[in-house]
Symmetry: C2
Subunit: 105 residues, 2 copies
DNA sequence: ATGATACATCGATAGTTATCAATGTCGTGT
DNA sequence: ACACGACATTGATAACTATCGATGTATCAT
C-alpha cells in the first residue's frame, strides 16, 4: 500500500505508522538546498537534469550535492538513471502524493 | 510578504531566500510526533484542543510534547491561547499555504 | 592501458535535535 | 498564604545531519 493511501486512510487520527512513513518525506524537503534541488529537477520535466548541472547553481561542493540527491532519492522523491558518465535526475511519479494527502487531509 | 507569495513568485528557480523560509516549515513536520500533533490539533477545528489532551495519546512525556508544540508554534503552523490554567492549541490561519504553494508549483 | 570526467563513498567535524528528569512559572481554589 | 494542577524551561545525553577534502568507482576517449 502506498504511503499516500495510509495517510488518507480512515477518519481517525493519523496513525503512528502513517506518521512514521510520512515524516521522512518532509525531512527530505526540510533543507533549503534540497528544496532548490527538487525544484530544479521538477523544472527539468520528463527529460530530467544532469547531476553536473546541479552542483554549480547551488554553491555547494560536489559531495554535498551528491549527498542531498541521495536523501531525495531515498525518500522516493526523485529518480536517477545513468547515461554514460552522466546521471540524470527526474521527479519520481506520484512523488508528492503522500505529502499532498496530508496537507489536504 | 508572506512566505507563500515568495514561493509562488516568478517563473525562475526557487530563490535561496524562499527556500530558506520554506525549509523550517517542512522541518516542523519532519517528525512523526509533530505530524500527529498537527493532525490532532487540526481535527479539533476552530475550538482547538487543550495541551493536556495531547500528551497521553502520543505516549511521550509532558516536556517532550511541550517542546514539539513549541516547534510547531514557532514554525507558524499552530497558535495557542491561554484559558485559565489550560492552553488551547489551534491551527494557524493559512498555516500550510506556503507548503501547498511549493507542492503545486 | 592511460588519462580524464562524472559521480559516489569515506572520514572527520561542527551544529542540530529528540528525549526525559528536575525544576520553574503561572493561574486557580481554599 | 498555601497547595495544586497545567505548562514551560533547563540541563544532560545520545542520535542525527550538513559540510568538505580525500579517495574510490565507473565510463568514455585516445
Amino acid at each position: 500500500m502506498t504511503i499516500a493511501k495510509q495517510v488518507q486512510l480512515g477518519k481517525g487520527p493519523l496513525a503512528d505508522s502513517a506518521a512514521s512513513a510520512l515524516a521522512p518525506m518532509f525531512a527530505a524537503l526540510a533543507d533549503p538546498i534540497r528544496l532548490r534541488l527538487f525544484d530544479l529537477v521538477r523544472r527539468a520535466g520528463v527529460d530530467g537534469i544532469c547531476s553536473c548541472d546541479l552542483t554549480e547553481p547551488l554553491d555547494r561542493s560536489q559531495p554535498t550535492i551528491s549527498h542531498h540527491l541521495k536523501v531525495l532519492r531515498e525518500a522516493g522523491l526523485v529518480e536517477s538513471r545513468r547515461d554514460g558518465t552522466w546521471i540524470w535526475y527526474s521527479i519520481a511519479p506520484r512523488a508528492l502524493d503522500a505529502v499532498s494527502q496530508f496537507i489536504q487531509r
